[in-house]
Each structure stands twice: as structure tokens, then as C-alpha cells.
């Protein structure tokens, strides 16, 4: 077990180094940071001076080595755009993204599982066909369109909910939260719904398919024959057995929700790491971009690691293989 985890950890480090290297070699195609840092009045010699100062004239490999060297010590430098330390910028934005991600995961899970079970239990009801068709829209409509649509309806027309931002936040010292104020909660509703729609439909379809599969199993029939109540059969036996893949998918999706809430954050001006990344790309703010991509890699690596370990715990066959392969 320990050897397995250590091997996985080592692989994770290699993956992260690789992500960093790829990201780093891509930055040169994003544009010239110097051009956006210096204004119209700047002269070519100013540009040269600044490139020298930032070490942009060095070979990419050397720049990469320097970046990794600093990153290992927790130094990500200072943002070209905002002149503030990158680590501080990312940590100040992280609570917003994480709260949004968890809120939307919660919505997706609750409604996804609920609707999935409902549509599986009544496969031929007209309400099921309505839900199923509506879910197609959820999957196929682009996020920004859903976001703008929701803003138009709930903010502009009905004036019920705020169209942008995070509302009032409470500073807990190491974490700023919008969950403790009314305006913070109100601000969370639209972006969380927008971000959750895709996962919601995904989970709903998954639960429905799994559930239909399970309901055909012999043990359900035997349960019916034993005269157990519908409730016990559906929720006690059938649902329980469908949840394993659902939990895996939700876990993995949470990673992508944290990492790629970019569009939702931009549409709702949500002050998270995603919108920070978009603003940084526009002006080629290399330190922020590099740190963000490394952070995203870390999120995925950690989640994958946890999932791998869970599989190892759950699935005895993996352990047998490991023993057999380890001779």
C-alpha cells in the first residue's frame, strides 16, 4: 500500500513538472509581456532593458529551471500586471472559486441524483420526457449563453438577483466567505446554477442509466417478491448500488469545476482564480499564468491520487495484481 502511494506520488511530481514545462514553452506564443507592460511612449531600448531585467532573453530551458527553482521554495514572483505577489493573488482569489465550485457541485448532486432517480422510476411518464429533453439543452447550450440568459431574466428583467460579483464578504482571516451574508448568498445563486447545469445533466443521465440497469437485477426482483416497500427497494437497495460510479464522476468533475470555472467567472465577474487567469492571459502575465497552470495540475493530480487510492481500497483485484507484479 505504502509503496503504491509512493509510486503514485512520484508519478504525480513527474506529471506536474511536465505540465509546467509544456505551459512554459507555450507562453512564448501568447504574446510579448513587455509590449503590454510598457506604454505607447516606450522605446525599443526600454523593451530590451525590461526583457533583460525579467530574464526573458535567456533560453526557455533556463527560464524554466529558474521558475521551478523558485516554485519549489514557494516563490512565484510578482504579477507583471498588478505588481502584487502571485501567491497572494491566487490565495486571495481561491475562496471565491472554491465556494462557487462546491455550491454548484451540491446543486448538481442533489438535483442530478433526484431527477435521475425520478426519471428512472417513471420511464414512460410525460414529465420524464420533458426532463430528458430539457437536459439535452443543458448539455448543449454553451455556458456563457446560459449565464447571460440568466442575468437577463433574473437581474435585468425581474431585478431579483445581482448580475455580477460576489456581494458582501466576511473575512475570516485566512478565508473570505460570501456564505455568511445575504448579498453573498444571493450573488452565488446565478453563477452556481450556470456552472452546475452541465454536471447536473451529466449526473442525472448517469444515475438514470445506472438505476435502470440495477432495477432489472435479480435481487430487486427478489426484494419485490419478499414484499419490501417500494421505498426500501428504490432507495435502500437500488440507489445505493448506483452511487459508486456517481461518486467517482462527481469527484473528478469537482476538479474540472474548480479548474475551469473560467467562463462562468468571467460572465458573472466572479472574483475567483479563473477570471484572474483570463485577465492575465490578455496581457501575457507569465508569473500568474504559470502559477495558475501549476495549481490546476496540482488539483487534478491530488484528486486522481485520492481516486486511485480509493480504488485500491475498494477493489481487491488491484491488490492481488500489485502483489503478483511485485515479485
Amino acid at each position: 500500500m505504502l509503496a503504491f502511494i509512493l509510486r503514485r506520488l512520484l508519478q504525480s511530481v513527474v506529471v506536474m513538472l511536465f505540465v509546467a514545462l509544456i505551459a512554459f514553452s507555450m507562453f512564448r506564443f501568447v504574446g510579448d509581456p513587455v509590449a503590454s507592460m510598457l506604454g505607447q511612449e516606450s522605446r525599443l531600448e526600454d523593451h530590451e532593458l525590461l526583457r533583460e531585467q525579467l530574464g526573458l532573453n535567456d533560453p526557455v530551458f533556463l527560464q524554466f529551471a529558474r521558475f521551478i527553482g523558485n516554485a519549489v521554495q514557494g516563490q512565484f514572483g510578482i504579477s507583471y500586471r498588478l505588481q502584487t505577489p502571485v501567491t497572494e493573488l491566487i490565495f486571495s482569489r481561491l475562496p471565491a472559486t472554491i465556494e462557487l465550485a462546491f455550491a454548484s457541485a451540491l446543486i448538481a448532486l442533489v438535483f442530478g441524483v433526484g431527477l435521475g432517480v425520478y426519471t428512472a422510476l417513471r420511464p414512460r411518464a410525460w414529465s420524464t420526457s420533458i426532463i430528458m429533453s430539457a437536459s439535452l439543452i443543458g448539455v448543449s447550450l454553451p455556458t456563457f449563453l446560459i449565464g447571460i440568459g440568466l442575468i437577463y431574466i433574473f437581474a435585468v428583467e425581474l431585478k431579483m438577483l445581482p448580475s455580477f460579483g460576489r456581494g458582501e464578504t466576511v473575512n475570516l482571516g485566512w478565508w473570505t466567505t460570501g456564505l455568511l451574508t445575504t448579498s453573498g448568498l444571493r450573488s452565488l445563486i446565478l453563477p452556481a446554477i450556470t456552472l452546475s447545469l452541465f454536471q447536473l445533466t451529466l449526473i442525472m443521465r448517469l444515475v438514470r442509466a445506472e438505476m435502470l440497469e440495477v432495477l432489472r437485477q435479480d435481487y430487486i426482483r427478489f426484494a419485490r417478491a419478499r414484499g419490501l416497500s417500494q421505498r426500501t427497494i428504490n432507495f435502500g437497495h437500488a440507489l445505493k448500488n448506483t452511487l459508486v460510479p456517481v461518486i467517482t464522476i462527481t469527484g473528478l468533475q469537482l476538479g474540472s469545476v474548480i479548474a475551469f470555472a473560467i467562463i462562468t467567472e468571467t460572465v458573472f465577474q466572479w472574483p475567483g482564480v479563473g477570471s484572474l487567469f483570463v485577465n492575465s492571459v490578455q496581457v501575457v502575465d507569465v508569473p500568474v499564468m504559470a502559477a495558475y497552470l501549476l495549481f490546476v495540475a496540482l488539483v487534478f493530480v491530488v484528486i486522481n491520487l485520492i481516486v486511485d487510492i480509493l480504488y485500491y481500497v475498494v477493489d481487491p483485484r488491484l491488490r492481488v495484481d500489485a502483489r503478483a507484479g511485485g515479485k
Binding site: V30, G31, D32, P33, A35, S36, M37, L38, G39, Q40, E41, S42, R43, L44, D46, H47, L50, Q53, L54, G55, Q75, G77, I78, Y80, R81, L82, Q83, T84, P85, L89, I148, I151, Y152, A155, V156, K159, P162, S163, F164, G165, R166, T266, V267, F268, Q269, P271, S275, L276, V278, N279, Q282, V283, V284
Partner: protein
């Protein structure tokens, strides 16, 4: 009439007698100030924000004229290379310190220092000295008749405060830590900084001790960043913000027709133009491989005749642009209505000219355009591709974000490009120095076309030191005549800005897009 006057004066009396009511303006913009350090970045949005906290010696009003701010008078001294500034008395910084000449000397020196991005504007300053508490002498390396024009965004900091907080050196890019002045302020301006959350919201509060006699009606400013255009407009329509500064042209009509919103439009001091490669060397992106078609005056004339500026205005800009035939905005010294005239499109003549020049079947070329810098920049280029196509010039469009477009311009790696040019000094010399003069040394940084004319270069350089205004203006006119005759640039239009406010709030469009909330009025 008398009654009206009476009513007005009674109203004024009543208004004066009542305590000023707290009035908050929520101001939304596309992005945040990059820094609070006033000398670090030379960027419009950063300056715009800083103008509310810090002040400059001289300023520019909405008509584009220079007005006094921390300096009450300025003039050339007995020595024509010395500018004498008389300072306003009784001004205090937000922390209560007095504003004196030593703060001006300190700030100008800081703005000229190596790490300041403002230093180019002060490149011809030799030294700055305080003569007494309220007089400053700025010694130039040579006669510099236009130097005060360069001061409209150079803010004055308190020497003691800056030194006490170790912020004398301007923030260095690439270092690991930030400077105190990046996040803290101590200006003389009409508002004090209360809080700032970068990229989210900044709150400013009225500085009760400000020197101006008329107090602004806005007592609190909430500066909010909303980068998505649709969301920004929605926030105004839903009443969550009061003033949207960056209104996309496609939304002007919709906003004007909705209740409770006022849209104000006005010209910006920025011209949009096309430029092309001069010289004999063949173009990199053309099928003509033995010579450069753009070097033929007939081809350039044909291009000028192919472009339908009015159609671009109507279709691409939805009516919000000011077509022009000269690459200078009307605010700028040297602009004339005569120069501004542009030809009516004439495709038949354009085709004939191309045939005469030896290109009866036209030629191919690539047009480089930015797609996120100017109003509808990519759409303008797309329209021009079609228009030139009618005359036979087959243009391929290469569209890039400005971060990738500007290196092409600065390294002269483009055959044909779109660019916009703002003129912060409001004088033609600024355009000539960068766009027309041969690319060498401090000149011609934005002349990727490589146009060169030694006679013109000499005239352009003379503008920098000529103190006789009439003579100088005559030279400017001569230079423009040559630039127009040679068709060095192909101007399209001047940009128009649109501001949208909640009904009842009024703010005039500032030509440099630097509206001042303290000048906002209420019905």
C-alpha cells in the same frame, strides 16, 4: 425670465443651506487600475483612477485645453530652457502634510527615474529645483516649448510619506516583493482611498479638506470592475451600477432607448489608420515577388479610393465614429478641416490606377489587425479586406490579440497593418516623432512601414526646439502637406466614446477617456 432666475437663486440658497447629502456613484469599467503607484505605469485606466486620489501640476479639461491644477501658473523663464511653475498654496495631502515645492521636485525626479514608465515624457528634463516653497524650476536640455503638455498624468506624491514608507524607488518588474506605494496612497486629490480589492472593487471617499471651492456632489465612489461587456451593460440596466464607462457600440442604441439610462457620446483623441511597407524590398506576404506594390504612389492612391469610410461608419461602427482623411484627431494642434477631408470611394478609378501601376489583376497581401484593442478593430479590417478586394487587391486577414500584434509593429514585421494612435500631448509633433520620422534612435518607434524622408526628418526634429509658435505651426502644416501627398498613412476614422449613466447623472466624454467623477453633475 426674472421669475426663473429668482427660483434658481432660491434653489441655490436652499441647496447651499442644507448639508450636502451623501451621494454614492457606482462606476463600472472593463479593468482595474494596474497599480496605485502613480509613476509606475503609463496607462490610461491607471491614470484615470489616480486622478481622483492624486493630482498633477496641470490638467486637461473635456475640451482638451490645459488647465491649472497644483500649479497655478507656468511660463518659460528668462532662460528659454527653463520652465517656471508657480504652485498652489494651502494644499494639503490626505495625511495632513503641506504640499510644497520639495514634493514637486521629489515627484518629478521619481517620475524620471529608471524604473518609472513615465520617464519618456520627461526625457528632456535636465534638473528640477525648488526656488522657494511655491516655485519650481524645471531645466530642460534644450528649448522645450511643449513640456507642460507632458505633465497631465504625472502625479505629485508627498516626499516625507514616500520616504518614510521606503517607496522612493518605483516598483521593479520581476522582483519578488511589492512596494508600499503600489497599495497605499497619500495624494492631494478630491477623494481618499478607503479600500481596494484588486480587480473587484475600490472605494473612495470625499476629501473634505480638498482645496477646490466647489465641492463635488459625489461623496463616495465605488469603482467596480466588470470585464464582460454584456454583464457590464446588464448591471447598469438592473440598477446595480450608476456609470458604465466602456459601452460597446452595439449596445448604444439599446441603452439609449431604455428608461432610466442616459448615453453620452463624444470624440476620443484617437485615430484609427492603416499603414503599409515602403521601400523597394518585396513584401513577405505578397504574390508580387520582385518589387513592393505599396511603394508605388498610384497603388496607395488606389487604396485610398477603395475604402468607403462612410460605409465603415454606418455598418461597422453603427454610426459612432468620425471618418477622417488625416491621421490626427481634431483636438490636436496642426489639424485643419482641409486636411480632414476624405475622398469619395471610386472603385473604377482605383482599378485604373492599379492597372497603370502594372497590377491589372491586383496582387495579394496579408493585413495584420489587432482584435481586442480598439473599438471593433477586427470588424473594420474585415470590411476593408472586402473593399480592397473590389479593386482587385486580395487581402488575407491575420487577426491577433494586441499582445501579439504590437511586437509585429515594433519589430517592423508587418506588410500592412491596422493601428490606433492617441495623442496625449495634443500636438502633431507627437504623431510625427513616432509614426512619420525614419525609425532611428528615439524616433519612429511606430513606423514599421519604414517610410523615410530626410528633409521631413529635419523638420520634425526642429519642432522639438522651436519656441516661435507661429513658425512652428507653419512647419507642422508643411509636414502634414508632405505626409498627405505621400499618403504615408491611410486614416479611417476617429474613435467615438460612449458613457452610460443612470438617468439624472451627467458626465461629459473626456477626449482621453479620463472622466472625472468630481465633475459629474446631477439634474
Amino acid at each position: 425670465m426674472k421669475k426663473l432666475l429668482l427660483t434658481a437663486s432660491v434653489a441655490a440658497l436652499v441647496a447651499g443651506a442644507l448639508p450636502a447629502s451623501a451621494e454614492t456613484v457606482r462606476w463600472a469599467r472593463v479593468s482595474d487600475a494596474l497599480t496605485l503607484d502613480p509613476h509606475s505605469q503609463n496607462q490610461g485606466i491607471t491614470h484615470n483612477f489616480a486622478h481622483h486620489i492624486y493630482e498633477t501640476l496641470v490638467d486637461r479639461d473635456v475640451a482638451g485645453t490645459l488647465i491649472p491644477r497644483l500649479a497655478t501658473e507656468w511660463a518659460l523663464g528668462d532662460d528659454p530652457t527653463v520652465w517656471v511653475f508657480k504652485l498652489r498654496q494651502g494644499v494639503k495631502f490626505h495625511d495632513g502634510a503641506d504640499f510644497t515645492a520639495e514634493d514637486v521636485v521629489f515627484s518629478l525626479d521619481r517620475a524620471r527615474s529608471d524604473k518609472s514608465n513615465m520617464r519618456q515624457l520627461h526625457a528632456s528634463v535636465e534638473s528640477v529645483t525648488a526656488v522657494d516653497d511655491y516655485t519650481v524650476h524645471v531645466k530642460m536640455t534644450g528649448p522645450s516649448p511643449l513640456y507642460p503638455n507632458n505633465l497631465t498624468n504625472t502625479f505629485i506624491m508627498d516626499k516625507t510619506w514616500t520616504e518614510a514608507n521606503n517607496a522612493v524607488t518605483v516598483q521593479e518588474a520581476g522582483s519578488q516583493d511589492d512596494n508600499y506605494a503600489v497599495r497605499n496612497t497619500n495624494g492631494t486629490g478630491p477623494y481618499k482611498l478607503v479600500s481596494r480589492e484588486v480587480d473587484v472593487k475600490s472605494v473612495l471617499e470625499l476629501n473634505e479638506a480638498h482645496w477646490a471651492e466647489t465641492k463635488p456632489f459625489v461623496t463616495k465612489i465605488e469603482y467596480t470592475v466588470i470585464s464582460d461587456a454584456a454583464t457590464r451593460v446588464s448591471a447598469l440596466l438592473s440598477g446595480e451600477v450608476d456609470f458604465v464607462q466602456d459601452v460597446p457600440v452595439q449596445d448604444i442604441e439599446r441603452l439609449s432607448s431604455s428608461d432610466g439610462v442616459t448615453v453620452t457620446t463624444g470624440p476620443e483623441n484617437r485615430v484609427i489608420y492603416f499603414g503599409y511597407k515602403f521601400g523597394d524590398a518585396p513584401l513577405k506576404s505578397s504574390n508580387v515577388t520582385d518589387k513592393n506594390p505599396f511603394n508605388d504612389p498610384k497603388v496607395r492612391e488606389a487604396m485610398a479610393l477603395s475604402i468607403d469610410r462612410d460605409a465603415i461608419k454606418q455598418v461597422v461602427m453603427r454610426g459612432y465614429s468620425i471618418p477622417t482623411g488625416v491621421a490626427t484627431p481634431p483636438f490636436v494642434n496642426g489639424w485643419t478641416a482641409e486636411l480632414d477631408k476624405y475622398p469619395a470611394p471610386d472603385i473604377a478609378k482605383a482599378k485604373a490606377l492599379l492597372a497603370e501601376a502594372g497590377y491589372p489583376d491586383g496582387f495579394t497581401v496579408t493585413l495584420d489587425t489587432p482584435n481586442n484593442r480598439y473599438v471593433n478593430d477586427e470588424a473594420i479590417s474585415t470590411a476593408v479586406v472586402g473593399m480592397l478586394g473590389q479593386a482587385g487587391i486580395k487581402v488575407t486577414l491575420a487577426s491577433r490579440p494586441i499582445a501579439q500584434h504590437s511586437p509585429l509593429i515594433q519589430n517592423a514585421e508587418t506588410d500592412f497593418y491596422l493601428l490606433g494612435w492617441g495623442v496625449p500631448t495634443f500636438d502633431s509633433a507627437y504623431i510625427f516623432n513616432d509614426l512619420i520620422h525614419t525609425k532611428s534612435g528615439h524616433y519612429g518607434a511606430y513606423n514599421p512601414g519604414g517610410y523615410t524622408n530626410p528633409d521631413l526628418d529635419a523638420k520634425i526634429q526642429s519642432l522639438g526646439t522651436e519656441v516661435d509658435v507661429a513658425k512652428r505651426d507653419a512647419t507642422i502644416a508643411e509636414i502634414w502637406a508632405v505626409v498627405q501627398a505621400d499618403r504615408v498613412l491611410l486614416p479611417v476614422h476617429n474613435q467615438v466614446l460612449a458613457y452610460a449613466t443612470k438617468k439624472g447623472f451627467n458626465i461629459a466624454v473626456h477626449p482621453e477617456n479620463q472622466p472625472r467623477i468630481y465633475e459629474m453633475t446631477k439634474d
